[in-house]
Subunit: 310 residues, 2 copies
Amino acid sequence: MSGEGDFIALMRDLAAPDSARALLDDVAVLRAHGTLVLTTDTMAEGVHYLPGDPPETVGWKIAAVNLSDLAAKGARPIGCLVNYALSGDAAWDAAFARGLGEAVARFGMPVLGGDTISMLQGMLRSISLTAIGQATCEPVPSRTGAHPGDQLYITGPVGNAGAGLRLLQAGKAEPADLIEAYRRPMPRIEAGRAFAPSANASMDVSDGLLIDAQRMAQASNVAIVIDHVPISGSLAALKGRTIEARIEAACAGDDYELLFAMPPEFVPPAGSTLIRVGEVVEGEGLKLLLDGQVQVLPSRLGWEHGAGQN
Amino acid sequence: MSGEGDFIALMRDLAAPDSARALLDDVAVLRAHGTLVLTTDTMAEGVHYLPGDPPETVGWKIAAVNLSDLAAKGARPIGCLVNYALSGDAAWDAAFARGLGEAVARFGMPVLGGDTISMLQGMLRSISLTAIGQATCEPVPSRTGAHPGDQLYITGPVGNAGAGLRLLQAGKAEPADLIEAYRRPMPRIEAGRAFAPSANASMDVSDGLLIDAQRMAQASNVAIVIDHVPISGSLAALKGRTIEARIEAACAGDDYELLFAMPPEFVPPAGSTLIRVGEVVEGEGLKLLLDGQVQVLPSRLGWEHGAGQN
């Protein structure tokens, strides 16, 4: 059996019972009603993951980064299509499939179809996934709806994944929870389902809190003030809680927490993980206020699309 | 503006007015009713197109190969998502966008979303497109429904694109129609709409008539006899109409004609391009009968997935 045949057999274990047509046809067939939410992300070796990352985590991550976009819109995952470049290493491919399988099983996003190609010698691996979800609220919140007066909330602390990446780049493997945050981000599907319906604007924070908040401000024609940068105990233990450490965390990518602009009357339910990080005001641009002081924004607010990690 | 910003601006011109959210959000939002048909294909430089192919034709082709899968199922294109790797050459990217734009405008498949990444130095370009169509008949025909007694039809001659590829590989640029067949395949959307509803099985012929007919036979648990290999006048002028030339044409990929298994009572309408090429019989496997003689099948029936062109 060819490498492709082996890989498709692994995908068949992850496939939707009906829609995927057992991956024996050229197409998937999906009965759909209502509003679908569609998103796609590509991860390239050396750009979006490290060549030494365990393949299980690469498989997990290509699902997780797409699930995170569905989560930001409150969508329920329906299925996905996978564009895979065979690595020439059957064990790598199988481990990738295991990690992908873990994510799609956990979040109910079976494989509907895909395309597998062989790479030429020397080609860097590039993997795409297109995710399809069912909207659970109307309108589906976008980045563009933030209003002056809205309060900004995030689903968890920032900077863990960026710190994990830098630890790996420095040849370190600890603290494990920071490495894990980089390699196995957790899409906030439940929080998205819970809070997207109340949000005037929402997005996932894939490139950094500051740059993504700035994008929301631009898209909504408003200004955003960030006045709190939540960081984890683990990150604080490593880097401290200085203003510099918090700014670094706010410029780090790959956290995949969700950012919501909530109307002023919104009150986070007791026990939710939502953390208030700022507010929407009239004007334009981004302002960072820490410990009561306006901070000079760093020249690089996060991972620029097309310029590195995202 | 970044290379990515420039490219997204070009894509915005191709975007669906509502669903794509002006490519300003992380997701597309699609109102859907009934049965959707989904397909995705990846094209890698040096594997699925030649490094010297004009970028307009690469843009056209990534749309066309996906449209061809929709065509085989009789689906009406709705939209697509594009995973693009910036080439580092803005003129190349712009020409790619023009070719893609020509195809999506012609076939009514606007861009709903996508992801653009930057490549590392020396990385070979890889581009994926995911196409979404609306089913126009139920059940949507698959590869698996061919019955003994069905007659096999194809929408046009085979071998043009394969001959075009070999001409290019030999440094030639003529005959232009064969080169064009390789570089700008024409998805048979109208023929698919017309004939898929009558078909017991259907697929597009992307890897070669013989290998794709064999796949249909396997998927349907039947045998297929191919007793006619239609070739164009242009190909015949180049290669003759010998049995060898016809077998070569039947093993050539990239034609993107449609192959239908039609019930015995089906009669092609006058004026249609359908050409009868064989029939479905009990048993398993593929048989090639030319000029009344059973032919020894070549060891390679077409482009194997993962082993080269598809």
